[in-house]
Symmetry: C2
Subunit: 203 residues, 2 copies
């Protein structure tokens, strides 16, 4: 098996951090995110959504969507558990992972894709007003995350989970989206320093 | 426990269909999606994302995000299994559920929220160009889904899963987004008739 990824892109980093936390090693193959590669028939056959990362199994079957790849490895090797075990814990982690994905990560992604001049060939049509609107959405969500981290050590409660991975990758992606992390979000900063120190953060 | 929902909205329907497939009954409480209700402090305390459905447990704790609510009940009552059991089955269902969510359901949601005059007070700012762009995204994704359903009885393979629930709710939401289902997508039509006939579809 191998993972086809683009090392500098945020979604593949989610999978790399997840695998590092699990202690699982999978060979990576670099995919250059150029328009002609993305639009190629080969890419369509690997993932019709034309996105990385892609887990290609030994028989050729491909699993895409970062969280689907993570769940595959969680099922293969349950420890350390990153999606929860008890019903309520599973629900809280799913809820926070999705909140961070939809409220923060995708907002940053839209700000980046609809405003960055380099993305004009890949995001068609670019809608700058939508990019701007997402800057506000992302900043609002950071405030909500700060509030959650005031009462909890990690995003989904007292244990590190996949929601922390999504949140860390999102916060680090703010630089690409050209949004500064507000300095007064002290709980977010405490958490950010903490999770950034884990060896997995540099995977 | 109870589920706070808005009966006419698509996300609560995902949870109702899921519970009907499981044979689980939970009391529902109607929440009127008016701006003053959505912006109320009470709504913020139930779900800071200000969205329905919300599962409120007997101790007051709230779980929001439709899929988080579904996963809670899947963990409590695993049969019939709607998220998969074996690693590869889990990964395929997660992949297809997310593809349909991101590529179709959210595209329709954006088309609806950014183009419908009635949504102007709730989606601020409305960006009509973004709404229009999402009509194309949704139609493209329907073609992809048709291709998948050419070779598979259900969205994620040979078994009905949560990905079918998301897809059915999305396809039915096309009316609200004012997009017609192309008649030449015959595999999609075959699947749509099939899943619409299940008793859960009218939950």
């Amino acid at each position: 098996m191998k993972i086809i990824e683009t090392h500098a892109a945020p979604n593949p980093r989610r999978v790399r951090i997840f695998l590092a936390e699990k202690g699982i090693e999978v060979p990576f193959e670099e995919f250059e995110l150029k328009v002609e590669n993305i639009q190629s028939d080969e890419m369509f056959s690997l993932n019709p959504m034309r996105q990385v990362p892609i887990l290609q199994l030994d028989d050729g079957e491909c699993i895409s969507e970062s969280i689907a790849i993570c769940r595959y490895f969680e099922a293969l090797r349950p420890e350390p558990c990153l999606f929860g075990q008890e019903p309520l814990e599973i629900a809280r982690i799913e809820m926070w992972n999705r909140r961070v994905e939809l409220g923060l990560f995708y907002a940053l992604m839209h700000a980046f894709r609809h405003l960055h001049p380099r993305m004009g060939a890949r995001e068609v049509p670019q809608v700058p007003d939508w990019g701007e609107a997402n800057k506000d959405k992302a900043l609002n969500h950071l405030g909500l995350l700060d509030k959650q981290l005031q009462d909890n050590q990690y995003v989904a409660g007292e244990a590190y989970s996949v929601a922390d991975i999504t949140a860390l990758v999102a916060v680090d992606f703010m630089a690409a989206a050209r949004i500064e992390r507000p300095a007064d979000l002290t709980h977010l900063s405490r958490w950010y320093e903490d999770v950034s120190k884990r060896p997995s953060a540099s995977a």
